[in-house]
Structure formats: structure tokens, C-alpha cells
């Protein structure tokens, strides 16, 4: 076989599910991809069966640090569905605010890393700098920069203080001009257009076959969003719209994420205005036998938790499905037929895997000799950007 194999991974630090990609390449073109996962598997579903229902909220928070409120959010939705209770309204608003703040910080994080791969390190530094005010809000509201522990079955764990609201609003409004800058940087730059348009296209049928969710699906024109389709928390009490884009390529995915930043800020500002006073916890005692399904639209797509209780203290079965489980498989389709220098950004575009590139290495299939390592691949990608820049006369 004349194909060469590029192993990517398994080490890359930024990802909830480290994967090991094997790119089969023929010259410059990717002809096949093998995906192997499980390097981060901790059997959380098994551990959950030995923890009490309240402790599981903290356990599922440690599934993923970037979307560390999405899993508890889906889990408390599942418990609320199991019990069929009405959660106090103030708690619903608190949950919504935390969920949307997380979307902002997660999208900014992705934007920065996507910039890095395209050779725009300034975008990386900017995006991560403007992510810091969001983390400041988290620290003020929840006490921690990551892992907020704000979710509780039947309510919220802590209250938000009214006296913080003006400061939160001011901080968020100050972010909007920064987002305008990013929007300009992505939408008006011919170099970014040349690097990302028509690259890694997923059609509507691909999305259906692979059940891709979240921004990956919405960038292909499939308007699915759990917040709209199956409203929970306070999402049906505020005005917002689902962002879609038709292209299906990397560019569309970036545009969808940037436009969602504005929607998230809008949702938070409305929630802060509308939040009623009152209790935040419904004080659940026992969980009766039964089953419940909870969903939440995480920054990367739909999270779904299935909880089965046998009337005991801990879940009899707790099934967790993260959005990347579906989205990563869609890479099989997106990356085939593209060039190696585009593979980095395509694999990063579903927002699963960026740092793996640090550990990429090209191995000659016949001799097993290493001919190119991770930095070379990022360099390859960055050189392509430089070439396009000079072609367009933007040096």
C-alpha cells in the first residue's frame, strides 16, 4: 500500500475525550481516517452508581472542564424529569445565566485556538484575554473560575446577589465591541476566507447520518437547538434566535459560534432583568423508582443524560452522552479528500481536538520512520496562510 499514515495523538490536553487519529494520506491528500478514543475514559458511569444523587452533580462536573456546567445541567434536568417537579423560577434563571456564560467562554476559547492553527496567534491571545472578564464573573458569582457547582437537583445551589448585577451587565456590555472586532476579523478577512471556505464540508445528509449536533449541525443549515426545540430552564421566557449558516464548512462553523456569542449576552442581560425574587431550592428528599431523560444544549451541542433510580440512594444506571461523541465521528466524513495542511483546522472545527496537533507526527508507512512532527504540521498550516497572504498582496 502506498498510503502513508499520520498518527495524531493520543496526547492533547484541551479535550474531554482525547482521541487518537490515524490519517491515511496519499501524497498531500487524506484518503482515510481511523479514530480511536478512550484515553480519558474514567468509567464515570460506573462511579456514579456508587455516589449519592447529590454527589453525582459534582462528579459529572468533572467529565469536562470546559463545559463543566453542561453535564450537571443535563443531569438536574433528568432528575427533575424523573420526579416531575416544578423548579422554583429564580433557580431556572440562575441555571440559564450560568449555562450561557459558559457558552461565551467556551466559544472564545475555541476561536482563539482556531486562530492559532491558522497562524493568527494574535487572535489566540486576544480571544483568551477577553475570556478573562467572563471568568471574573464566574469567580464573583460562584467562587471558582472553573467548575462552578451551581446546579442542584430541584434548584440551584447558591443564590446570585442583586448587588452584583450592575457590574455583571457592565462587564458583558464591554465585551460586545470586542466581539465586533472578532466578527470583522473573521468575516472580512480574505485570507481567512481562502483558508476556511469550502474546507471540510458536511452536508445536511452527513449531519443526519452521523447525528452531529450543536454548532456543527447548525453550520450546515440544520436548525436543531435543544433550548428552542424542547425548552427547559428559562429559555422559553426570553427572546433569542437560533443561529444557522448554510455553508457546512469551517468558515460557517466559526461564523455560527461568533454570532452565538451575541445571542448569549442578550439572553443573560434579559435574565438579569427578569429574574424574580424567591426561593431557589425545592428541597427534594427522596428519589422514587423511575427513569428520566435530561437534555441541555452545551456549547458543543446536545448533552443527554438518562438516569434510572431503583428507589435507593444512588442512581441504578446513569448514561451520559457528550456532544463530541457524535461530532468527532463526523470527522470521518469531513476530513477525507482534503489536504494535510487543512486537516488540523477541520479536526479542530467541531471543537473537539486542538492540542493533539502538538503531538502529530508523520510516519513513513513502510519504514516506520518519523519524518514530520507536530510543530511541523502546525507550521505547514501556518505557511499556507502566509502563501495566501502574499498571493493576495496582504503582507
Amino acid at each position: 500500500m502506498a498510503h502513508k499514515i499520520i498518527p495524531i495523538g493520543p496526547y492533547h490536553p484541551l479535550q474531554e475525550e482525547p482521541e487518537f487519529f490515524k490519517l491515511h494520506v496519499d501524497g498531500e491528500t487524506v484518503v482515510d481516517i481511523d479514530i480511536e478514543i478512550g484515553y480519558n475514559h474514567r468509567l464515570i458511569e460506573k462511579i456514579a452508581e456508587s455516589k449519592s444523587f447529590d454527589q453525582v452533580t459534582f462528579l459529572v462536573e468533572r467529565i469536562c472542564g470546559i463545559c463543566s456546567t453542561s453535564h450537571p445541567f443535563a443531569y438536574v434536568n433528568a432528575i427533575d424529569d424523573l420526579l416531575g417537579i416544578q423548579v422554583p423560577e429564580r433557580a431556572l434563571y440562575i441555571r440559564t445565566i450560568i449555562g450561557e456564560l459558559e457558552r461565551i467562554h467556551s466559544h472564545l476559547l475555541w476561536l482563539g485556538l482556531a486562530g492559532h492553527f491558522l497562524g493568527y496567534n494574535t487572535v489566540w491571545m486576544w480571544a483568551w484575554r477577553y475570556r478573562e472578564p467572563v471568568l471574573d464573573i464566574f469567580e464573583r458569582v460562584t467562587g471558582n473560575r472553573q467548575s462552578y457547582a451551581m446546579m442542584k437537583p430541584g434548584g440551584a445551589r447558591r443564590d446570585m446577589l442583586e448587588e452584583d448585577f450592575p457590574w455583571i451587565k457592565k462587564t458583558l456590555k464591554e465585551l460586545i465591541p470586542k466581539f465586533d472586532m472578532f466578527k470583522g476579523a473573521v468575516m472580512d478577512d480574505p485570507v481567512i476566507h481562502a483558508r476556511t471556505e469550502g474546507v471540510g464540508v458536511l452536508t445536511k445528509e452527513d449531519i443526519r447520518q452521523y447525528s452531529a449536533v450543536g454548532p456543527t449541525a447548525r453550520a450546515s443549515g440544520v436548525a436543531i437547538d435543544v433550548r428552542k426545540d424542547d425548552p427547559y430552564a428559562a429559555y422559553d421566557k426570553v427572546e433569542w434566535k437560533v443561529i444557522t449558516h448554510e455553508g457546512g464548512d469551517v468558515y460557517s462553523k466559526a461564523v455560527v459560534r461568533i454570532l452565538e456569542l451575541y445571542e448569549s449576552i442578550d439572553i443573560i442581560l434579559q435574565c438579569l432583568d427578569k429574574m424574580p425574587k424567591g426561593p431557589i431550592d425545592s428541597g427534594i428528599k427522596d428519589i422514587p423508582p423511575g427513569e428520566g431523560i435530561g437534555r441541555h444544549e452545551a456549547p458543543r451541542g446536545e448533552v443527554i443524560h438518562y438516569v434510572m433510580s431503583d428507589g435507593g440512594n444512588s442512581p441504578a444506571r446513569h448514561k451520559i452522552r457528550a456532544p463530541s461523541f457524535m461530532n468527532i465521528a463526523s470527522n470521518k466524513k469531513a476530513v477525507i479528500g482534503e489536504t494535510i495542511s487543512d486537516a488540523t483546522i477541520i479536526l479542530a472545527a467541531v471543537d473537539p481536538c486542538y492540542c493533539c496537533t502538538e503531538r502529530m507526527a508523520v510516519v513513513d508507512y513502510k519504514t516506520g520512520k518519523k519524518i514530520m512532527d507536530g510543530q511541523d504540521l502546525v507550521r505547514l498550516s501556518q505557511e499556507k496562510t502566509e502563501k495566501i497572504k502574499s498571493k493576495l498582496g496582504r503582507r
Partner: protein, 145 residues
């Protein structure tokens, strides 16, 4: 209403093989079906109703192993769950991977976690656990240590 129409269609198509329909809450419906008509009902939901396959959950209930296929119909926010009960002496069910690619990984996961055999799966190997994980030790079984 579309929800009633879907449930009615499932009832018609499965006839005697449908043992129970539970309306847990407004948007959650659980249907217990025999395993021989699973591919047929899944094809109906996926191809005709254009449902999205969300995930499948494997549960060991001591007496049997249950597999729950969660289908999401996004236009009305409904989750239809098909429950298939497998006898512990014969843990085998038709694979849905030939019908929809998104079922490939989760079937691999249920295979390694609970030891269910999916007939017709193209690539039934380890997904999450290490390659030399002891054979016959299924972590999510009740009797696993």
C-alpha cells in the same frame, strides 16, 4: 397531533410485538418492543419521521439487559425511547449501524461494557477500554467487581 400519530404508527407497525407504552412526561415516551422488530421500527423513525438518533443506553437490571434507543424528534422536542429487553442467556440483537452510521460507536461501547453482541456490526472491537482488558469482564454488569 404529531406525537399521537407517531405513537399510533409504532403501534400499527409492531402489532403484537409492542408490550408497553409509557408517557413519562409531556415530551418523553417509552415503548417496550420485541427485539425482532427493532430494525423495522428504527427504520421507520429514522427514515420516515426523520428522527435524530440521540444515543442508546444499556442497562443491567439483574434479571435481564435492557437497551434503550433514544430517538429525538426535534421539530416537536419529543424523545421516543425504544426499550428492548434481552435475556441474559442470549445477549444478541440486530445492529443498527447499517441503517445509520451514528450507531457505530455506541454499539461498540455497549458491547464492551455489557457484553451484548450486535449482529451485523462491521467493526465490533474495543472503543474505550484498553486493548488487553480481560475477556468476559464487563464493567457495567452488576456482577462485575
Amino acid at each position: 397531533m404529531r406525537q399521537e400519530a407517531i405513537i399510533q404508527n409504532i403501534k400499527v407497525r409492531s402489532d403484537k410485538d409492542l408490550s408497553e407504552v409509557i408517557h413519562k412526561s409531556k415530551n418523553r415516551v417509552y415503548c417496550t418492543i420485541n427485539k425482532n422488530i427493532l430494525p423495522q421500527i428504527a427504520r421507520y423513525l429514522f427514515n420516515e419521521e426523520k428522527a435524530r438518533f440521540s444515543i442508546a443506553s444499556g442497562v443491567d437490571t439483574r434479571k435481564a439487559v435492557e437497551i434503550l434507543y433514544h430517538f429525538s424528534i426535534d421539530e416537536i422536542g419529543l424523545i421516543v425511547t425504544l426499550r428492548v429487553i434481552l435475556d441474559k442467556s442470549n445477549l444478541e440483537v440486530e445492529s443498527l449501524t447499517p441503517l445509520m452510521k451514528c450507531a457505530e460507536w455506541i454499539e461498540m461501547e455497549i458491547h464492551e461494557m455489557l457484553g451484548v453482541n450486535f449482529k451485523g456490526h462491521p467493526n465490533l472491537k474495543h472503543l474505550l477500554l484498553k486493548d488487553d482488558w480481560p475477556k468476559g469482564n464487563y464493567p457495567l454488569r452488576r456482577d462485575s467487581n
